[in-house]
């Protein structure tokens, strides 16, 4: 074999080895993680405090609303952060306030379902909460998604002391 052919052969081998090693090391998939489908169920973390329960509730509500609107949970979270961001979001995706309100309410209802399924809300608390949320105005619904602790504090405050008695009574 001539030196020229050896050089070309060696170069091909070196290039292939480098590309092969980098591919095996995950070079083809080194990119930002993809957002999870908001319509898929997401695991509930065990809430250690009311604040964490509220956060979990908000995340679940975001998932539900994002699923309805066909956007990611992350996009919706940023859109609901400020009125300006909400306006930009509405323009970009062609979503008016009515459609957004329906989606946010649906999201909050899903959050109640998820909380109930995870054992974080009893059926007794979940029922009236659903009725309240079905009629809630958009601004309040958004405020709830952003900070559900006020709602949950009120619910627990209302039912808290009597909860055990009522649950025993209704079986």
């Amino acid at each position: 074999m001539t030196r020229g052919r050896l050089l070309v052969g060696g170069s091909v081998a070196a290039a292939l080895v480098l590309v092969g090693v980098y591919l095996l090391a995950g070079g083809a998939s080194y990119e930002p993680q993809k957002a999870q489908d908001p319509c898929e169920p997401r695991e509930w973390r065990d809430p250690g405090s009311l604040q964490q329960l509220a956060e979990q509730f908000s995340l679940s509500a975001l998932d539900g609303a994002a699923c309805q609107l066909g956007v990611s949970r992350e996009t919706l979270a940023r859109a609901l952060a400020t009125p300006e961001a909400r306006e930009r979001f509405g323009r970009r995706y062609g979503i008016d306030d009515e459609k957004l309100a329906r989606a946010v309410r649906a999201g909050l209802l899903r959050a109640v379902d998820d909380a109930e399924a995870a054992g974080a809300l009893t059926p007794l608390l979940a029922g009236p909460l659903r009725s309240t949320l079905e009629e809630i105005p958009l601004d309040q619904a958004i405020a709830l998604i952003n900070d559900a602790s006020a709602l949950l504090e009120n619910v627990e405050g209302f039912f808290g002391p009597a909860q055990g008695v009522i649950e025993r009574f209704f079986g």
Partner: protein, 438 residues
Amino acid sequence: MLADSSIVVLALPEIYRELDTSVAGVTWVLVSFNLVMALAAVPAALLARRVGPGRAAAVGLAVFAGAGLACGAAEQLSTLIAARCVQALGGAAAVTAALELLPATVGSERRATVVWAGAGATGAALGPAVGGILTELVSWQSIFLVQVPVALAAAVPILAVARHEMATRVIEQEVRPAGRPHLWANLALAMVSAAIAAALFLLVLLLIEGWRLSPIGAALVVTAMPLAAILGSRLGPHVPDARARAAAGAILVSGGLAGLALLPKAEVALTLPPQLLIGVGLSLVLSALTETALSGRAPQAIHGGWTISARHAGVVIGLLALTPIFTADIEDQRAEAIEAGTAVILDSPVEPLLKLGLARRIAERLEGETGRVPTIGPAFRPLPDDPEDRADVEQLRDELQEQLNRGATHAFSPSFGLGALIGLLALIPIGLARRLDL
């Protein structure tokens, strides 16, 4: 002058920030110089033969120095670009005239070709380090200002040659018609230069703008490429077949660029193996193609002009073709990184109220750096006093940084990949260079 692009590229991120322009805008600091060099190289070589290489080189160096002064004083991008155009005119005259002057100094045209190509390689080797050190320790303006005394110092011995030319008036007798340029070798030179420009330009931007290295840090990293080129230049003489050297070089450059397109992590060390391949490859392919383009062709200055023209045209094509792709990709990846970063924040175990404040500060940084990969570190300062909260916040910061690193690295992948493809396509004219010796 042959090293100009490798010096200036290190200052681009600084110019980009200081003159408040865009990536596409700052690219023209390189594009304008290379475009004018590509257009002016052959006419400058013809002029050098007509007025005498000594005079052409002296005037060229003076113009280059004067325009360098204007570049250093520029406060607007448009002024800088205009000065760069004038600088390239002077550069074209000086570089092509140098090839005409060299045979008399070194003894033969063949030796002159080797010395001339070697000067380009040495310049490229020193370029990134010089550019990085000057940019960081002094300012981006200094990379242009430092060229002024260097060019003037080079002009001093040439003035004697120019005076001798004027006294003897031997120039007109030496003018002879130039043969046709070597089409395939020059075409391959242009394609390989496009790929190499992509490698250097994009790697520097990735290191400084994507991974936030300092200019000196980036300069040290990219110096690996020219150091490998020195290794490659020792390998070349052992292989007499120029076409084999050119093919091997093009394959190595493409392999290295493919490696940069497939970086498995945002780590500086991982850029070294691809740089090693690119460095060895560029040394093999550039010298082999320049030799082929000049071999048996006279006058050397004219054909040297064609090789300069081809190389600089390649750099222009590479930059113009890849910049829009890369700028669009960095915007897409920025959006994806923000999406991934939001997910990291939402899912983080950081205490909700603390998280809310952090999210607001991070969002401000993201909004404030449109078109760039944002720096998020300051959003996390000061860290909370509580050890548990501090650990959670630090974990969140690291995860968020990882998503941004992934976004930044991935944004460069398609451009590096396209550079690799251009390098591979150069194998076509390299293959044709021997069969059709045009």
